[in-house]
Amino acid sequence: MAVSGTALEIKEIYDPYVQKWKEKGGRVVGYSCVATPVELVEAAGLLPYRIKALGNPRTDLADGEMSLFNCSFCRSCLQLALDGTYDFLDGIIETNGCDHLRAMFENWQHNKNLPFFHYLKVPHFFRDDSLEYFRGELELLREHLASHFNAPVETESLRGAIEDWNLVRKRWRELCELRELPEPRVTGSEALALELAGSHMTGKDFADLLSSFIEERREAPGRKPKARLMLCGPATDEVAWLEEMESLGAVVVADALCFGSRAFLHRPGTGENPLDELAEGYLNTIFCPRMYKEYDKRRSYILDAAKRAGVDGAIYLYNKFCDLHGTDSVLVRRDLENSGIPVLVLEKEYSAAADLGRIKTRVQAFLERIGGGAR
């Protein structure tokens, strides 16, 4: 089977890759936010697993803990914790990403009482004083990982993990270049599936996967889309949803998604030791509306990506009750439209099949508006 076939078939939370890791006696630590330095976890000999729901529509158990006014993605992930799907995790790293996420983690821990539960506190702006604090947070995480798992993080292994993940980011950029071609060789849903597959791999394996995939696609024929779209928004891991949107004839040639390009923006920091480098590299590149006084930075990043990929329009997508993205969407829409890029803002429930028809109609109308429907 071609690499693309394997990589794009991520259907299980307890994926065969993770199963094999566990069978070999490996331990797995869950995390949710892209501000979590996976290098540190990996350097401790653990497998970092980015928590996802893969479109799980059930939330009945989670609804007993969180309200219906909470993000359905977080409820969906919590459901998988409560029903035992995530029992393979040996621990969790919480981050203060948003109010919903914090509530999800707290309920997770109240109900499952994981032996390793670490709260990585991530500041909400990048400054010298917040960087110093975050550097201290990484030190605490390193100590906690070492003491709990009896897995000291040696400088050499940390440097190795940093190199691996920097290579992942380089490969991701190459993948994006294939998406940005006049006739894209990779679709948005394929990129998302790859990201999901890699979000529970070691850096080395993920980089290898991306290399093989890129190699395969570099020579493959491109596809002339009816419209070139950019997708902006939070952590969405609904590959099927994206496939439905692309089935209308458009291709998502660029994205600013949390499960997507925003996860690979880390730039190596300038610190003398690896922890300094990680602290700066991560805190300075969280292009998420959770960061304050950084809207200008987010705008530049989105506009640059849109222009580089030559998009015809952008869709800003967020889950109902997401105040961070909902509020940012107003400014992003204003600024993209001022740059001549039409924008459709879509507020939806996570993995709600009932929403699909409504949303497809809106996307179809949007494609017609930007000329993609008539081509």
Partner: protein, 471 residues
């Protein structure tokens, strides 16, 4: 008749209209008669009628509320004059202790949520037009009306505009922080942030102090005014006069029946969010304490008996004072407080600017909502604090007046309710609505639910305890 004089006038925004209407408070004396209150209530439009009656119907709080609203009106006038007098007008959220800003001669802080509250409780249409305006911009309907109404009034209309926006809730309340940041970005004005790390260790507190020093420095640079030690001392001493009165107020709440009128809960909230550190705050609070003491001495209570002592485990709904505070009081339901009424004031050392800022940092770190929702765990910090208040004040039950914007509490309410029952055997009524928008859940529904809860759960539980004692 209704519209005349109450609709927006050219050049005004919602706040200015509210101030214009509030001027009627000078028509009253503190000894206003029942007939005059009734006459005033019948003269105004229905929403304002509920405000007038909520403040003035019960004779116990009438004089105080007139006095208080006259002081508040004077403060609003000061705010409207501030910019022409060379001061910078800043908006601050209700999660920020305002006393620091009063120590700057060149700043005038106006609390966003107090602006919203004034619009909702005074203006025709209760600020719904401003909420709707915010929605028309594309903002999500899951934001908080508490701040969005005030902010949207600025964005929508002419009139008063702040020079900067200050907020402190990144990480403890997304809707609050986000709407303030949005307004600053949208209006192109400076924004100043004081983030509280979700870290209760000494390291977290020290980091917060560092952030505070930087925050002060940024304000100094922006205003061109150094925060003076003498001025800070003066303000903090006044703030701590209020603290002593607050402690007395808290003690008075313990008496049975509760001698503190329910509406004073709202008054305290406004004092703390907007006026703390000022002389008028001390004066109002002193009168509140004196009135409550006098009622305690005379054994006065608005109902034949105190049926239930309720702790509002989150925040009051504030769009209809009459059908919330007064209604419960007349039913014999005493409101002992809400999360915003729980304050932690450390001892203060006035000897230096640094020692006072240290105390201020502790106050702000443990400020209501910032402390709980910005705590290391939302759920445990919240339930610990409410348990303390419930036990200390002798509450029979909790009412969670949930607000649809507050994802942190809504995300942990099930745990909270179970834990409160487990630790103290205290039941919680969970309601979802909105602090300032009656369209979410009308007050009739609230009344029905509370009445049923008190009749079916609280009273039976109390009767059971009495039977067990006598049997």
């Amino acid at each position: 008749m209704m519209e005349k004089g109450y609709v927006m006038r050219p050049g005004e925004n919602g706040f200015e209209r509210a101030v214009g209407i509030l001027e009627m408070v000078y028509k009253f004396t503190e000894q206003v008669s029942d007939e005059a209150v009734e006459g005033a209530a019948n003269f105004v439009f229905p929403e304002l009628k509920n405000t007038v009656l909520g403040l003035l119907e019960l004779p116990a709080n009438r004089g105080l509320e007139i006095f208080f609203f006259q002081r508040l009106l004077e403060l609003f006038w000061e705010a409207m004059r501030a910019q022409s007098e060379g001061k910078k007008l800043i908006f601050i959220p209700f999660t920020f202790p305002p006393e620091l800003f009063w120590a700057f001669d060149s700043l005038f802080p106006l609390c966003t949520e107090i602006v919203s509250g004034a619009i909702v409780n005074i203006c025709y249409g209760q600020g719904e037009r401003f909420w709707d305006y915010a929605m028309s911009l594309g903002l999500p309907d899951s934001l908080c009306s508490g701040n969005t109404i005030g902010i949207a009034s600025l964005l929508a209309g002419p009139g008063l505009k702040p020079d900067a926006i200050v907020y402190n809730t990144p990480g403890s309340c997304n809707p609050n922080a986000k709407i303030h940041a949005f307004a600053a970005d949208y209006l192109g004005i400076p924004q100043f942030i004081l983030e509280k790390p979700v870290d209760e260790s000494p390291r977290g507190r020290e980091q917060y102090y560092k952030y505070l020093l930087r925050f002060v420095r940024e304000l100094e640079e922006w205003t061109g005014e150094e925060l003076k030690e003498d001025r800070l001392r003066e303000v903090m001493q006044r703030a701590y006069q209020a603290v002593e009165l607050y402690n007395e107020y808290w003690e008075l709440k313990k008496a049975r029946p509760c001698p503190v009128p329910n509406i004073f809960s709202m008054t305290l909230l406004v004092l703390r969010s907007q006026m703390w550190g000022r002389e008028d705050c001390v004066e109002v609070l002193r009168r509140m304490v004196d009135i409550s003491k006098e009622r305690l001495r005379k054994g006065e209570y608005a109902a034949p008996e105190e049926v239930a002592r309720i702790y509002v485990s989150y925040i009051y709904w504030l769009f209809d004072f009459y059908n919330y505070f007064t209604w419960m009081e007349k039913k014999g339901i005493s409101i002992l407080g809400d999360i915003l009424a729980i304050h932690y004031f450390p001892p203060i050392d006035y000897s230096s600017k640094e020692s006072m800022l240290r105390a201020y940092a502790d106050i702000a770190f443990d400020y209501p909502m910032t402390r709980q929702m910005g705590g290391e765990t939302i759920s445990l910090r919240w339930v610990d604090d409410i348990c303390y208040a419930v036990q200390d004040l002798g509450a029979d039950a909790c009412v969670f007046g949930g607000v649809h914007a507050c994802k942190h509490t809504l995300g942990t309410i099930s745990f909270f309710r179970r834990e409160l029952m487990k630790r103290l055997g205290i039941p919680t009524l969970v309601l979802i609505g909105d602090v300032f928008d009656k369209r979410q859940t009308p007050m009739e529904i609230f009344q029905h639910e509370v009445e049923t809860f008190v009749d079916q759960v609280v009273s039976r539980k109390k009767a059971g305890r009495r039977r067990a004692k006598s049997g």
